[in-house]
Symmetry: C2
């Protein structure tokens, strides 16, 4: 288990480690979007990743790093979102158990995803305190290896591999637009760019959940309480390890309004015909209004509630 | 302009003619769907075609066949759906005008698509009589070449090219599931399979708009009036040229209920992460309940109203 900011070789090793399990996701372009945004854009399609989100990368890396202990005692996390399903999936790849603590108001689709991958769910009250207390309890009972959704260097190294692949496909990116919630994807992207690229790294955040923006400006973590945004994957506040890396290697945090997020989501679905979750629209929303130059945009996931439609 | 059922060489020529303009769309697989359906399935992604639907193929072929007259007088059709946008796009590729007669209650997104490709819209009352009368009027005023949405052999030859490409990718298809509305796609698929494949061809139709099923059983065209189904692209009744081909070369028509269509649409968006229109789910819905064997399924288009979401 990594106890330091991942080095260049840590990222390379993480990538080699997970490659037999994950998808090398496609990179999309759209001449129509390019003309709107005024730059050449490359979209990294992590909505087509295993489990429907980049989270499979970090979870798989953390599971493989803790392989022996995990097989003996299982893995554990608390998550209302994609990380729970990703950890359940990753654990199942090596025949290990996964204990997932979920709030009892979690969307049915998220519960179904965890169950599908064989995750063992413990429900708790929908507060952070209840989640942590319940996870502690499960940990004591099982001895399972706790894998934090983002504040964990093995997770960060795993998430970095999405950007490594994007830079392999487009080595000369000048701008890199990355959604930021807890900061797992953004801190990983910033490290990958530091070691393998030369882009300006821009964290893309909902205006309504702008703790990363505020923290980045203030030079200290300022969590937000119960933010309300359609980008449900970005409601989380930054982790300490993530913030440490973001302070050093990210160049700017830019926020997008709810209208800008909706417009960007609408573009992705109606033009690219790709179903991404609203969080994945954050990169596009910011790309539409910032900067010139060859740009990479990470479409971070594709898990969303389809009930409004059918 | 073809005046007979397209021959094998007619299809090959149509494909060569349109290849510089259209996308060779990708073919998807899903191990999860395969286990549900009990067969190996190959999805032809025509939602990623130019203009977001297979209609670009037929329209481009008809435009190129009528190139000289079209450049002089323009092209004309009546359409509330994807064919109008496809014809406007195809005409714009050779610098010709496109006159599109649309009902005045057409969805805003469909109107916007026609306008985006430079189509010249004439609105009319939302009845078939009004459409045809208005199209006649525009034809008299402009001398434009009328291109029927499906009851036209050049259109049929163009639509056949989607199946030619699917058979190139998977020559040994045993079953071919094709949505049927006016019958342009299905009659084209049946011809392509007759000349290049050896599959059982199954037309897939909403139970609520089952004129193809009824006509196929009765051996004569039995149009439906104002059918109500979420598969809006399949509300049309069969054309005469289409029915003639379908009677000869299609093996079976199978209907899907609204619930089956919704479930299949939900699968495509939530699992494949591909935004298809509900009509495109008809092939999946029928594939889920019929037959065993290597199967091709045409995802016919991806243009749908996103308003319920954003």
């Amino acid at each position: 288990m990594l106890e330091h900011i991942p080095t260049k070789s840590d990222l390379i090793e993480a990538h080699q480690r997970i490659l037999p399990f994950i998808h090398k996701t496609p990179v999309y372009t759209s001449s129509w979007f390019d003309s709107l945004a005024g730059k050449n854009c490359y979209f990294k399609g992590e909505h087509l990743q295993k489990t429907g989100a980049f989270k499979a990368r970090g979870a798989m890396n953390a599971v493989l790093v803790n392989d022996a202990e995990g097989k003996a005692y299982g893995f554990l996390t608390h998550s209302s979102g994609n990380h729970g399903a990703a950890l359940a999936w990753a654990a199942s790849q090596i025949g290990a158990k996964a204990y997932i603590v979920m709030p009892d108001n979690a969307p049915k689709t998220k519960i179904a995803a965890v169950e599908q991958y064989g995750g063992i769910i413990t429900f708790c009250a929908p507060t952070l305190d209840a989640r942590e207390a319940t996870a502690d309890q499960v940990q004591k009972e099982t001895g399972a290896v706790f894998i934090h959704p983002y504040d964990n260097y093995d997770i960060i190294a795993g998430q970095a591999t999405a950007t490594i692949e994007l830079l392999e496909a487009q080595p000369n990116l000048e701008l890199l637009f990355v959604p930021v919630g807890g900061g797992g994807l953004l801190s990983g992207a910033a490290l990958a760019n530091q070691y393998f690229g030369n882009a300006k790294v821009i964290g893309c955040e909902p205006e309504n959940a702008n703790d990363a923006y505020q923290s980045f400006q203030a030079g200290k973590r300022i969590p937000v309480q119960n933010p309300d945004t359609i980008a449900d994957g970005l409601r989380t506040s930054l982790g300490t390890r993530n913030f440490e890396i973001i302070q050093q290697y990210v160049h700017e945090i830019i926020t997008a309004s709810e209208d800008e997020l909706k417009q960007a989501w609408r573009f992705t679905t109606s033009r690219l015909k790709q179903l991404v979750e609203p969080s994945a629209a954050a990169g596009l929303a910011v790309a539409l209004k910032h900067g010139v130059g060859t740009s990479g945009i990470i479409l971070c996931g594709g898990n969303m509630d389809l009930d409004p439609f059918v």
